[in-house]
Amino acid sequence: MQQANDRRPRFDSPKSVAPSNDALAASTAYIIFAGLSALFVSLWFSPNDSIITIMVAVFLMMTLGFRFWSVALIFLMVQVGLFLVEPGSVGGYSYSPGSSLAAIGVLALLISCCRYLTLTSSPAPYRLSNRSSVQVAYFHATREPRKAFAPFGVLSRDDSTVGPAELFTMLARTVLPVMAISVMLTLVPLDPDMPNTARLIPPAVRTITLGIILLAICVLANSLLSILVWRRLSPSEARIFARSELSKWIHREVSRVSRRRIRFRNSRRH
C-alpha cells in the first residue's frame, strides 16, 4: 500500500517544502534527457548551424516556464531547422539508421520536455480562451501557487509519483514510433516513374497515400476501441446513449410539442 499522503512536495510554489529525492531525481533526469537530446539533434546540423541550434534549444529550454507552448516551440524550431538544413532528396525516402537516430533524438527531446513539464506543473485543459491561456501561462511563469490556477480549472501536479521504470518506458516510446514510421515510409516509397493517372506530382501522391494509411489506422483503432468500450458501458451510460440516439430522430417533433405546451400553459396563467 502506498502511503502517499506523507510526501507531497511542491514544485510550483515559492513556499514549497523540499521536494523528495525521488521527485528531484525524476525531474532532473528529464531535464538532463532533454539537454542531451537537444545536443544529439544538433549533431545533424552543420557546425555553424549546430551552434545556433544548441543556442536556440538552450534558450527554449530556459523558457520552459511558459509551459504551454514551450514544447510546441521546441518542435517548431527543430522542424524549421530540419527544413532549412536538409536538402530535398530526389530519389525519395531511403531508410538509413542516421535518419532514424535523428528522429529518435527529436522524439526524446519532446518527451523529456513534456514529462519535465508534467512533473513540475500541470497539463492544461482543453478549451481555455486565449485570454485565460495567457493568464495561466503568466501564472506558470511566475510560479504562482496552485490556488491561483483554480479559477481556470487548471490542475497542477503537486507530487512526483513517477517510478524509475517510467524513465525506461520513455526509451520504448522513442524507439517504437520511429521504427513503425520507418517501416511505413519504406513500404510507401516515392516512385518517380509511377504513371501520373491523377495528374498529381509523385510527392503529392505519396503524401495522400501516407495520409490515407494513417487515417485508416486511426479509424480502425478507434473502431476497435469503441467496440471494446461499448461492451463495458454501465447501465446508466447505456440508457443515456439509447435515449440520445432516439431523441436524434424525434427531437424536432417533441421539441415543438414541448414548446407549444409551455406556451399554452403560460398563456393560461396570464
Binding site: 525516402y93 513503425a180 451510460e237 443515456i240
Partner: protein, 583 residues
C-alpha cells in the same frame, strides 16, 4: 480530453509531415510522422487505461474507524476520514489525481498541514500512481459544520498521461450517509439548582419552595384551625407558648418546553452559519442542562406550516430522541422554488462534471443537431442544457419526454437543478435558493403556527412551567398581536417564557459606535456595519416590546442565553417573580 500541448504538437506534426513529404525532406517527414505516431500510441494507451482499467478501481472510505454506510456525527467534532483506492485487478495508471468529494456541510481541518495550505493544496486531494494491485490511501481530518445530514459521495479521479497530452475525469462512487447531531455544551448554572447539603434528590424530584407535601422544612407559621396535628411543631410551640405549624416544601420538577423555529428564514445560509444552527445548538445545550438536574424537557418544532410536538421526558434516551428530531428538521428537504438563472446552470454543470463525468461524455450523451441558436455562446449553453436534461432524466427516472421539457421549460429545469444541488449536499444559499424580500408570507405562516403551538401547550400544561421560544424575531421586532396574546395567556397562567433569537453574523447585537462608520473604507464593510446597526436597533426594539410582556430576551450567539433559561427555571422553581424579588 486532449490538452493544448497535444493539440499544438498534432498540428505541427501534420504540417511537418505534409511539408516534409511534399518537399522530399526525409528527416523532417520522418521526425514529424514519428511525433504523430507517438501521440497516437499515447492516445491508444491512455484510452485503454481510462476506459478499461479505471473501471476496476474501488473506493473504501473509513470514517472514524468505521466503513459502515451510515452513522452519527456531531457538529464541530473531529471526524477522521481515510480513503483507500483499491484496484480489483492488476492495473497500471501512472498519474492520477484523487479528490474525495467534500460535502458542503463539512469543513476540512488543515491545522496540521499548514505548508500545504500556503501553497493551496487540499488534504482531501492527492496525486498518485497505481501499479499492479497495490492500493493508494490518504487520510484527512474534517468537522461537520451544521446539524442535519451529511453524505460522502465518492472520489473524483482525474487521470493524466505522463506527457500531459490527455486528461480524463471519472468518479468512483462510495456513498456513506451520516446524521449530524448538534453538539450540546454544558452550561454553568449561576445559581445552584440542586440541594448541595444532602444527597441528590431522587429522579424527578425538585425543590419548589412553596408549601407542599415534601420532606424539607420550608418555614414555621402560626397554627391555623384545620392544620393537621402531625404538622404541629411541639417544641417550638412550647417555647413560644402558642401553636406553631411546620410547612414543608413542595417537590415537583419544572417542565421546560422548547419551541424551535425551523422555518425557511432560519434554514437559509451556509451550513454552520444558518440561524437554525445556532438555534439547534442552543436547544441541545438547554435540554442537556435541564435534564442534568432532572427536569423534563419537551420539544415543539415549528416551520412555516406545521408544528410537531414531542412530549416531555427526561433521561439519555429522551435526550437523544430530541437531538434526532432536531437533526431531522435541520435537513434541507423541501425548499421553496427558485428562479432559473445562468448562475444556477453553471453551478449545476460544475457539480455534474465532477460527480457524473461519465454521463456527460459527448459520445454517450449526444446532442441532436439543430440550426439554432447560431451564436456560439448560446449554442454551447443549449448543448449543456441538453446534456444536463439527459443526466437528470436518468438520475431521477423521469418520463421519456422530460428531456425536451427540461430544455425549454425554465421553471421545471430550475426545480430539477435545485433538487440536484440539494442532493449533492448544498445548503440553502444562492443560487440554490432565492431569499425572498422580507419573506412576509413566511412570517405570517410562522407566527400562526407558533401561536397555535404555544396556546395548545399552555392549555395542556399545569403551572409554573418554562417555555423557551427559540425563534428568529430580529427581522420582525413587532410580533403580531396574536403572539402577544399567547404570551400574555401563558404569563397569566404563571408560566415563564424566555425568547432567544439567533444572530446571522454569529455575534451578539451590542452597542455600535456610530462614529466608527466614518473610518470604514470599503463599501462592503460599510454595508455590513449598516446591517449590524439595523439589527441592533431591531434587537433593542424587540427587547423593549417583550419586556413589557414580562418576557426576557436573549441572543443565541450570547454565551449567557442558556444561563438565562436556567435562571428562569430556577425562578419558576422558587416561585419568585424576579431574581431579587420575593415570593
Amino acid at each position: 480530453m486532449i490538452t493544448n500541448r497535444a493539440q499544438w504538437l498534432i498540428l505541427l506534426g501534420v504540417a511537418g509531415s505534409v511539408v516534409g513529404t511534399l518537399t522530399n525532406k526525409g528527416l523532417l517527414a520522418h521526425a514529424s510522422l514519428a511525433v504523430l505516431a507517438w501521440i497516437f500510441g499515447e492516445w491508444l494507451l491512455f484510452r485503454l487505461r481510462v476506459e478499461l482499467q479505471l473501471r476496476h478501481l474501488r473506493c473504501v472510505r473509513t470514517v472514524n474507524g468505521s466503513t459502515n454506510d451510515s452513522g452519527t456525527l456531531w457538529t464541530g467534532r473531529r471526524v477522521n476520514v481515510s480513503v483507500e483506492i483499491i484496484p480489483e485487478r492488476s492495473v497500471r495508471i501512472p498519474f492520477l489525481r484523487l479528490r474525495d468529494w467534500q460535502p458542503e456541510n463539512l469543513t476540512i481541518d488543515r491545522g496540521d498541514q499548514l505548508d500545504l495550505n500556503e501553497s493551496g493544496g487540499s488534504p482531501n486531494e492527492i496525486d498518485a500512481s497505481i501499479s499492479g494491485e497495490g492500493s493508494v490511501e490518504f487520510a484527512y481530518v474534517a468537522r461537520p459544520k451544521g446539524a442535519g445530514g451529511l453524505q460522502f459521495r465518492g472520489v473524483s479521479v482525474c487521470v493524466f498521461d505522463l506527457q500531459g497530452l490527455f486528461i480524463a475525469k471519472r468518479f468512483i462512487p462510495a456513498r456513506q450517509s451520516f446524521r449530524v447531531l448538534p453538539t450540546s455544551s454544558a452550561v454553568d448554572v449561576t445559581a445552584p439548582t440542586v440541594k448541595r447539603v444532602n444527597v441528590l434528590p431522587p429522579p424527578g424530584i425538585h425543590r419548589l419552595q412553596r408549601a407542599g407535601m415534601g420532606s424539607e422544612l420550608l418555614e414555621l407559621r402560626e397554627y391555623v384551625p384545620g392544620d393537621p396535628p402531625k404538622a404541629i411543631a411541639w417544641k417550638v410551640s412550647a417555647r413560644r407558648d402558642q401553636l406553631m405549624t411546620r410547612e414543608y416544601e413542595s417537590e415537583v420538577p419544572v417542565r421546560t418546553t422548547l419551541f424551535v423555529d425551523c422555518s425557511f428564514g432560519t434554514k437559509h445560509g451556509e451550513f454552520g452559519k444558518r440561524p437554525l444552527d445556532q438555534i439547534v445548538g442552543l436547544a441541545g445545550s438547554i435540554a442537556r442542562s435541564a435534564m442534568s438536574v432532572r427536569d423534563p424537557v419537551g420539544l415543539v418544532v415549528c416551520d412555516d406550516a406545521t408544528a410537531q410536538h414531542m412530549a416531555s421526558g427526561a433521561g439519555d434516551r429522551h435526550f437523544f430522541q430530541m437531538l434526532d428530531r432536531l437533526a431531522e428538521n435541520s435537513v434541507n428537504t423541501s425548499p421553496p422554488p427558485v428562479r432559473f438563472t445562468q448562475q444556477l446552470m453553471d453551478e449545476v454543470w460544475r457539480v455534474c462534471e465532477e460527480m457524473h463525468p461519465d454521463l456527460l461524455v459527448p459520445k454517450i450523451n449526444q446532442v441532436p443537431f439543430t440550426w439554432f441558436p447560431i451564436r456560439r455562446g448560446k449554442r454551447l449553453e443549449r448543448f449543456r442544457r441538453t446534456r444536463l436534461a439527459a443526466v437528470f432524466t436518468e438520475l431521477y427516472s423521469l418520463p421519456v419526454d422530460q428531456p425536451q421539457n427540461l430544455i425549454f421549460d425554465n421553471a421545471r429545469m430550475a426545480e430539477v437543478c435545485q433538487r440536484f444541488l440539494i442532493d449533492a449536499g448544498y445548503g440553502w444559499t444562492w443560487p440554490v435558493v432565492d431569499r425572498r424580500p422580507n419573506e412576509l408570507q413566511d412570517w405570517h405562516g410562522k407566527f400562526e403556527v407558533l401561536c397555535d403551538a404555544l396556546t395548545r401547550v399552555v392549555a395542556r400544561s399545569h403551572d409554573h412551567e418554562l417555555f423557551v421560544l427559540l425563534v428568529d424575531l430580529l427581522d420582525h421586532p413587532d410580533p403580531p398581536g396574536r403572539l402577544a396574546d399567547a404570551i400574555r395567556l401563558a404569563r397569566a397562567r404563571h408560566h415563564r417564557i424566555v425568547v432567544i433569537c439567533p444572530c446571522p453574523d454569529d455575534c451578539r447585537p451590542s452597542s455600535l459606535n456610530v462614529t466608527d462608520l466614518g473610518s470604514q473604507q470599503s463599501f462592503s464593510r460599510l454595508l455590513s456595519q449598516a446591517e449590524r446597526a439595523r439589527r441592533i436597533s431591531s434587537a433593542e426594539k424587540l427587547q423593549r416590546t417583550l419586556r413589557r410582556l414580562g418576557v426576557p430576551v436573549a441572543f443565541a450567539s450570547d454565551g449567557r442565553a442558556a444561563q438565562l433559561v436556567l435562571a428562569e427555571a430556577e425562578l419558576a422553581r422558587n416561585g419568585r417573580s424576579s431574581r431579587i424579588g420575593s415570593r
